[in-house]
């Protein structure tokens, strides 16, 4: 018997066993979340999606309505802030051909992508405090009296924190897209005598699949973030309906709810945490499949 052959077979078997062992937790997570989530949602599908969470100690199931809505609001505002900034700066980096600003942005954004997200939330919270202090100092200097209070926990601060998390993902995807434009196409566009802005618009439509998949990745990243929201959106179990109040009060998100309810001692809250986890996973799965399809088609 060849010893080298034997050793090779043994090691290969070992690799297969280890990688299958590694798959078990992943499969287990998907199955557990699906099983428990579906079981909870099946009890009252519409109620889970739209009702408010039950008060602690009650027996009813309730729902996670405010958190679903909160996630939607937070992600919409964050996308409105984050997507234009990241795509426009990626255009500038590639098409602007600047010697310093472009490469520096490129490097810093790749470092930014790994910032601990809780630090981003903490910084936004700290920035609100510093701005408030500054305004009150001004108020004192001008002798106006009174104390200005900026609400710390609201959708805007939450969305700003999420936008900061989102920017590097959308930026890197867009930058790669623009960098991969073949030379002859870029030359053709510029030879038409367009201004650089119009040329950028034409080139953007050429790389729209890269931009779209970047947006998908960015949205699914911020959809799954909890840490940056802890000190900014804070979480809210109730609907806030009146107009200005929505932007002045804490707002919920599905991830914040899973964190809070998962650690709570109430069974119905924990059930709703699994339901929220299932809904979240489904949305992320859909975004994942769409972005895969876009990349595949490219």
């Amino acid at each position: 018997m060849d010893l080298r052959r034997l050793k090779s077979d043994l090691m290969i078997t070992g690799i297969i066993i280890i990688s299958l062992l590694g798959m078990i937790p992943l499969i287990h997570i998907f199955l557990t979340v699906a099983w428990r989530g579906i079981n909870v949602i099946a009890r009252d599908p519409l109620g889970v999606l739209f009702k408010e969470p039950p008060i602690p100690g009650s027996e009813e199931l309730g729902g996670i309505g405010p958190h679903v809505l909160g996630s939607l609001i937070l992600i919409s505002i964050a996308s409105l802030i984050g997507i234009p900034i990241s795509i426009l700066s990626a255009i500038y980096t590639v098409e602007g051909m600047s010697k310093r600003l472009g490469p520096l942005t490129s490097l810093l954004v790749r470092i930014m992508i790994e910032f601990p997200t809780i630090v981003i939330g903490l910084s936004v919270y700290g920035a609100v405090l510093l701005i408030e202090e500054f305004i009150n100092d001004l108020v004192k200097i001008f002798g106006l009296g009174g104390h200005i209070y900026i609400p710390r926990f609201n959708p805007i601060t939450g969305a700003i924190a999420l936008a900061i998390v989102m920017i590097p993902y959308v930026y890197t995807q867009s930058e790669d897209g623009f960098k991969n434009i073949p030379h002859h196409i870029r030359e053709a566009v510029y030879s038409l005598g367009f201004s650089r802005i119009r040329a950028s618009i034409v080139l953007s439509s050429y790389v729209k699949s890269a931009l779209l998949s970047g947006i998908m990745i960015g949205v699914s990243k911020i959809l799954s973030e909890t840490a940056p929201l802890l000190f900014t959106a804070f979480g809210n179990d109730h609907y806030v309906t009146r107009f200005p109040d929505v932007f002045l009060n804490p707002i919920g998100s599905m991830t914040l709810w899973i964190y809070k309810a998962g650690l709570s001692p109430y069974d119905n809250w924990i059930d709703l945490a699994w339901a929220a986890a299932f809904i979240l996973l489904m949305i992320i799965l859909v975004l994942f499949v769409i972005s895969r399809y876009i990349i595949y088609k490219r």
């Binding site: 290969i12 590694g22 798959m23 499969i27 990241s86 700066s89 809780i118 700290g126 900061i164 992320i284």
Partner: protein, 300 residues
């Protein structure tokens, strides 16, 4: 000809840089009350393990240590799992199941950390308590002196490390997998033409992509140190000066921030900002290293 306003786009680049600068600026400004107390106070905060709100004395060494131990456990697990899985997917698995396997690993990257946390809290924690910690301590009681005694709920630094390892290994796998795929075909051919066995070829391939593996591990380490909610759900959140006894509950920097920041008063606030600054610096250094020295080897 109309004036080209293209240069206005650069405002976005400048804005991104301002954002990064502001994040750092806020952390430093907010922790100045601690720096004003002098260098010895900063050293005291860094090197002692006290959390005493009554006398207003705090030292965050336990959290720094906890973070490093949790990340270390996670990295060891992720290293073993990710190299095997990447090799398995690219070199060993039949081509029919390759795409589904890749997809599942990539989905593992996309699962929200709070969902990992929920699963860790209700599935992994009881499992590790009943099937790893309890049998180990019961059969070899001496180990109690090194590993500590487990808590009734099972939350511990060890549990957090294992969960984090499961969390970050898909990410490390995708980096290593892409690196293996990028090995030039001539090199693979040359290896086989030497008459090497499959395992010997794989061993050489792993050596060939060692820079990418290092980059993947460093990035995974950065993620592990910064990860908050999943760890906060299973680490136990107890001030534990003996954080190296991994079966006992503890704290990491991130989970300390998540749990204590909104209750903080007085000098505790700048100390927590300082802790965040440390967290930020660890991630920053890791990523500078990767971006400057290892970036080229795995990103085109």
């Amino acid at each position: 000809m109309a004036k080209d306003l293209f240069y206005l786009f650069s405002l976005n680049n400048i804005l991104i840089m301002i954002l990064i600068f502001v994040i750092l600026f806020v952390l430093i400004i907010s922790s100045t009350p601690l720096f004003e107390k002098g260098f010895s106070k900063v050293v005291y905060v860094l090197t002692s393990s006290i959390w005493d709100p009554v006398y207003d004395r705090y030292g965050i060494f336990f959290a720094i240590g906890g973070s490093l131990v949790v990340a270390l456990i996670a990295i060891i697990i992720a290293l073993i799992l990710s190299i095997s899985t990447a090799v398995f997917i690219v070199e060993i698995s039949p081509s029919k199941i390759r795409a589904p396997l890749e997809m599942m690993v990539d989905l593992g990257v996309a699962v929200p950390s709070v969902v990992y946390g929920l699963w860790g809290l209700f599935i992994l924690t009881p499992f590790l308590r009943d099937h790893v910690m309890k049998p180990l301590i019961d059969s070899i009681p001496v180990l109690k002196n090194f590993l500590g005694s487990y808590s009734p709920s099972g939350t511990s630094i060890f549990t957090a490390g294992v969960l984090l390892g499961i969390m970050i290994y898909p990410f490390a796998t995708s980096i290593i997998r892409e690196a293996i795929k990028l090995i030039p075909f001539d090199i693979k051919e040359a290896l086989y033409s030497l008459g090497l066995t499959k395992w010997e070829v794989i061993k050489n391939e792993i050596f060939y992509i060692r820079n990418s593996i290092l980059a993947g591990l460093l990035l995974a380490f950065g993620r592990a140190v910064g990860e908050t909610v999943a760890v906060a759900m299973v680490v136990g959140n107890i001030v534990n000066p003996e954080f190296y006894k991994i079966f006992t509950p503890g704290y990491t920097i991130a989970s300390l921030l998540a749990n204590q920041f909104l209750n903080a008063t007085g000098i505790m606030i700048p100390i927590l900002y300082f802790a965040a600054l440390i967290l930020f610096s660890i991630g920053f250094i890791v990523n500078i290293i990767v971006a400057l020295y290892l970036h080229r080897s795995f990103h085109r």
